[in-house]
């Protein structure tokens, strides 16, 4: 199976409370860039779907990672190559030249060139939380979509059984490839995703795999090609533009209570919520 995985980098999400807003613009100076966590999960899922878990060195498919952005994104792409992805594409552009719709249209052009069987994408990038590119891409390609996948099982690489995490439960779909699948958190659980080659009983370690030092060296030799946005889409206009940003209003400082009795008393007489 050939899988395309779009990647984005984000300002360290575990320190998002340290961002500033300067002159109406979000400023993330001082925060390290990290791969968007959901994209890391998508890479892990793609690797699981293109291997037999008992011998992960032998690749049984191809994983292509693709990023849109400036040269610094090569670091993000090399990181994914080091964990096992086979090759990388960077579409040269800058973040403020993009909106979700244009990202989807660029990815469509990449898909048409590469003809993957599957696009695996993070359900959202945790800066904008827009949760849209997978769905837009599916429509532009005329492919089925399965969003918020908490588990994926391959049926002979012709179709995927996808459990979608939805409000109040799980919605199970079977999609025939090619398709777009967006992944949710639980996809990297031990039973989250499995290829047709991996034994049904196999349990993966929780989370994503890390790159060994040797693999980091080897990843430097894996192919990474640069494409120009203008070669992929004729119309680079944006459908949504962003204006000024602001910080959220601060929450009034609370108090510590000394006992359960005091807590109940406060909830009754002060907060009046009981």
């Amino acid at each position: 199976m050939k899988i395309l995985v779009p990647l984005k980098r984000v300002a360290d999400p575990d320190n998002a409370n340290k961002i500033k807003v300067i002159a109406g613009k979000v400023d993330t100076t001082g925060l390290e860039f990290k791969p968007n966590p959901f994209d890391e999960y998508a890479v892990e899922t793609a690797l699981r779907l293109t291997e037999n878990a008992t011998n992960t060195k032998a690749r049984l498919g191809e994983v292509i990672v693709v990023a849109l952005g400036p040269k610094e994104l090569d670091t993000t792409l090399r990181g994914a190559l080091a964990t096992g992805a086979d090759r990388a594409i960077r579409v040269d552009t800058t973040d403020d030249a993009l909106d979700g719709d244009l990202v989807a249209r660029v990815l469509k052009a990449v898909v048409e060139k590469e003809a993957p069987d599957l696009v695996l994408i993070g359900k959202q990038q945790v800066e904008g939380d827009s949760n849209q590119v997978g769905q837009l891409l599916a429509e532009y390609l005329g492919w089925p979509q399965a969003t918020f996948a908490g588990s994926i099982k391959s049926e002979a690489d012709k179709a995927l059984l996808v459990s979608r995490e939805v409000d109040g439960g799980t919605l199970n779909l079977k999609v025939t490839l090619p398709a777009v699948v967006s992944v949710d958190l639980r996809i990297v659980s031990p039973q989250g995703a499995k290829s047709m080659h991996t034994a049904a009983t196999h349990a993966y370690p929780e989370g994503v795999r890390f790159a060994a030092l040797m693999a980091i060296m080897a990843a430097k030799k894996k192919p990474l090609v640069e494409m120009k946005l203008a070669e992929l889409v004729g119309d680079a206009s944006l459908k949504v533009t962003y204006g000024t940003a602001e910080l959220p209003p601060p929450r009034k400082a609370g108090i510590k209570v000394k006992s359960v009795a005091e807590l109940v008393e406060k909830l009754k007489t002060e907060a009046k919520v009981l």
Binding site: S130, Q145, T147, G168, L173, V175, P248, K256, L274
Partner: protein
């Protein structure tokens, strides 16, 4: 003048209360609006939303819409939208988030996702939305003639009926996307629960990793007593202590109840993003430095395994 199409979400043959948030959005935008109720059983459910002042309640009821498959629902929404609507709104539930971008792409429309408010200034409309896990708010404008919007349920209070009776009209069900031939709906598994939905509950009792296998044993008596919905942190869900659909946070459900109790939850940025809007927040944690105390109105530094049963006892004694 705006003409907005509100997409109702059906659940077990009834219009979900979350739909009322989209109606509030439509009222704020001004002009006129209609409500599209689609799915099997839509005909029967349509009467539930005739009292909100919609120009029309449109119904697409068909066996092909029995189970939710995006590729079957989106074409009908897009076709109806093309009949004179300049805005399509759906509440940002998992249903709305799955559906809205696909509809936007069909309409060649810009999509403003998960917005927290809208500011209308003549012909200009500015959408405000939380970003960076709620640590900043961004504003955006849609540059296309048609706008597709998903509205955050916690930020748009449920619309109250305004009386009258909107006429109900059937609309044609559009041909499904060709891609729908490659999607097979298998099943919808839902936790059966007598409790209110997380998004609608007045009180939410949430538990974290600390609860371990005793998650339900410790929290259920408290939730039952308060008539609360139960929520959980990602760590509790990932570990299997609570089902995934209970996850509250940036990447789970966003809640804003009158009272939120965070029990054995550290208060990671991603968790706070989903509950910071609650009116009153209570935290019970044995670590006095846990970040959850920074947003808690009332913090209790204690072992939850003794504090929660004690709280149940105290509530029974003094409130019930």
């Amino acid at each position: 003048m705006a003409n907005t199409l509100v997409i109702a979400e059906l659940h077990e043959g009834k219009v979900r209360k979350s739909t009322l948030s989209s109606i509030t959005f439509a009222r704020q935008v001004g002009g006129t609006f209609s409500i599209l109720v689609l799915g099997a059983g839509a005909k029967a459910a349509a009467s539930e939303v005739v009292v909100f002042g919609a120009a029309k309640v449109l119904v697409a009821d068909d066996a092909s819409l029995k189970d939710y498959v995006c590729e079957r629902f989106a074409p009908t929404i897009a076709a109806v939208a093309k009949g004179g609507f300049d805005t399509v709104v759906v509440t940002a539930s998992s249903y709305g988030k799955d559906l809205a971008p696909r509809v936007a792409a069909k309409l060649n429309a810009g999509y403003a996702p998960d917005i927290s408010s809208v500011h209308v200034d003549g012909n200009k409309r500015v959408y405000r939305r939380p970003m960076f896990a709620g640590n900043a708010y961004g504003t955006c404008e849609v540059q296309t003639p048609v706008h597709v919007v998903s509205a955050r349920q916690t930020e748009f209070t449920a619309a109250e009926p305004s009386g009258g009776a909107s006429p109900i009209e059937s609309v044609a069900v559009a041909a499904p996307d060709a891609a729908s031939a490659r999607v097979e709906f298998i099943s919808l598994e839902q936790g059966k629960s007598e409790r209110p939905d997380l998004g609608e509950a007045r009180v939410v009792v949430s538990g974290g990793r600390a609860l371990k296998e005793q998650f339900a044993q410790v929290l259920d008596p408290l939730a039952n007593l308060l008539g609360a919905a139960v929520g959980a942190s990602r760590a509790a869900c990932d570990a299997g202590f609570a089902p995934a659909e209970l996850q509250v946070g940036q990447t789970g459900r966003v809640v804003a109840p009158a009272l939120y109790l965070a029990i054995g939850i550290s208060g990671a940025i991603q968790h706070l993003a989903g509950m910071k809007g609650s009116k009153t927040i209570v935290a019970i944690n044995k670590d006095g430095d846990a970040p959850i105390f920074q947003v808690a109105d009332y913090g209790l530094v204690a072992d939850l395994f003794t504090a929660v049963p004690e709280l149940v006892g105290e509530l029974k004694r003094t409130v019930a």
